[in-house]
Each structure stands twice: as C-alpha cells, then as structure tokens.
C-alpha cells in the first residue's frame, strides 16, 4: 500500500525538475525535453488521482496529454530544425533577434 501522497510528491519533483530544466538549460532541445518532463509529472498525478477516485477519466486525460505532447513534439522539433537551418545554432541565448 502506497499513500497517494507519495505519487504526488514524485509528480511534484518531476514537474519541478522540468521547470528547472526549462529555466537553466541553454540547448533548445533540452529545454523542449524539460517540457516533456513536466507533462510526464502531471500525467503521473492524473493516474494517481484516477486510482484515488476510482474513475478512469484520469487515465483518459493521460492519453490526451500524450497526444498533445506528441503533436507538440512534432511541431516543436520541426521548428527547431527550421531555426537551426537559419541560425546554425541550438543555443537559445543566441536566438535573440527579437530583443530590443
């Protein structure tokens, strides 16, 4: 028997790691992976809550999150490729045409 809070703490840690990675990483691909990490953390809490409430909708939501994440990945990676083509770099600090 595992208390649900354990799952939630794990979920929180994963999410926090995602946020940190999003903030400190410079490689645009890694940043993108951090987002995936956050999504995964959220997914875990969905599944845990589904188990708690005894309703499968939580698991269904995980599917939707996955689909959205997959779509996001496809588009995001395409954007990364396009950025790399024009800027020849993956470092987000150098993708800074939009500054004042």
């Amino acid at each position: 028997m595992v208390p649900i809070s354990y799952y939630l703490i794990l979920s929180g840690i994963l999410f926090a790691c995602g946020v940190i990675g999003f903030l400190i990483k410079r490689n645009i691909i890694t940043i993108f992976m951090s987002i995936e990490l956050m999504l995964n953390g959220v997914n875990l809490s969905f599944v845990a809550f589904a188990a708690q409430w005894g309703h499968l909708s939580g698991q269904i939501f995980v599917f939707f999150v996955m689909v959205v994440a997959a779509a996001e990945t496809a588009v995001g990676l395409a954007i990364i490729i396009a950025v790399f083509r024009t800027r020849e770099t993956l470092n987000v600090d150098q993708v800074n045409l939009l500054k004042l």
Partner: protein, 174 residues
C-alpha cells in the same frame, strides 16, 4: 510491501533520471535520461494498474517521441551545451524557487487529497474499458484531438520542409 518497495525503487530511478537530465551537458544524454524517466514512470503506472497507459507511455513517449528527439539531435549533430556564467540569477533564485514551488504544490495536493493509500493495481485500466470511455464519454475530445494531430502533422511537414530554392535565372531579362 512489495508495492512500496517497487514504488520507491522506480521513483528513485525516476528522480535520478530527471536530475540527470538537468546535470548532463550533452543533449543526447539528457534524452536518454528522459527515456529512463519515462520507462520508470511506465512501471509506476503499472503499479497503479494502468497497464494500457503504461504500454502507451512506452510506445508513444519512449518509442516515438524520444526517438524523434534523438533523431533530431543526431540530425543536427548537436554538441555539448555551452555553459556561461550569465545566468547566475536564475540559478540562485530559480532552482530553489522552482523546487520549493513544486514541493509546495505537492504538499497542497496532499493536504487536499486525503490520505488514501493505493493498493497494487488500484484501478485496472483495461484497454477495453478505456476504449469504451474514449469512444463514448470522450468522443468529442477524441475527435478534436485527431484534428489537432492532423494540424500538427501538416505544420511539421511545412516547417521542416526544405525551403524551395528559387528557380535558376534563365538569363532572359524582361
């Protein structure tokens, strides 16, 4: 007991993977750490009984999404991350802040979730039941998602397509 042990082991792997993602300098290592996180999360799902979700997690996330990441890293031949000292502030303020925030959120969720203990395979998510729900209760979101995926495919194809090279000048002016 078995449940708790398994949970702790894979949670440890999970957190280790997540931290490794942050620590590693090379994106491919980060990607592999993420694969580890996802695989161990799949096990956590299995422990909760969500076997279909676990399988899909492996197939979609580990098998497709992360392969795409690896593929792109390889394609772009991404090197090691450059580290600069420019972002001290983010490191000093951001990391503890984010960590604290995450823990706070978890704490609140715990407070409001009661102290339900989950047994092994608490809520079996059989493919049949999930499919039934998906095609009855969640039919509209499902279809909307399909449109989203279609749009994403088109967008990805358009974005990643090589820019058309302008036709070579034929030499005739005017």
């Amino acid at each position: 007991m078995l449940h708790l042990v398994l949970f702790l082991v894979f949670a440890a792997i999970c957190v280790a993977g997540a931290v490794n993602l942050l620590v590693q300098k090379h994106p491919i290592s980060s990607a592999l750490s993420l694969v580890v996180v996802m695989a161990s999360l799949a096990v956590e799902y299995l422990l909760l009984g969500a076997e279909f979700v676990a399988a899909v997690q492996v197939i979609v996330y580990a098998g497709a999404v992360m392969v795409l990441f690896v593929f792109v890293i390889m394609l772009l031949n991404a090197g090691e991350e450059e580290t600069t000292k420019g972002s001290r502030v983010a490191l000093v303020l951001g990391v503890p802040g984010a960590l604290a925030g995450g823990l706070l959120v978890a704490w609140v969720l715990i407070r409001h979730s009661g102290d339900t203990a989950l047994s092994l395979g608490a809520l079996p998510g059989y493919p049949k039941t999930i499919g039934w729900l998906l095609f009855h209760e969640f039919l509209l979101p499902f279809e909307v998602t399909s449109i989203l995926v279609l749009i994403a495919i088109l967008g990805a194809v358009f974005l990643a397509a090589k820019p058309e090279t302008p036709p070579a000048p034929t030499g005739r002016k005017g």
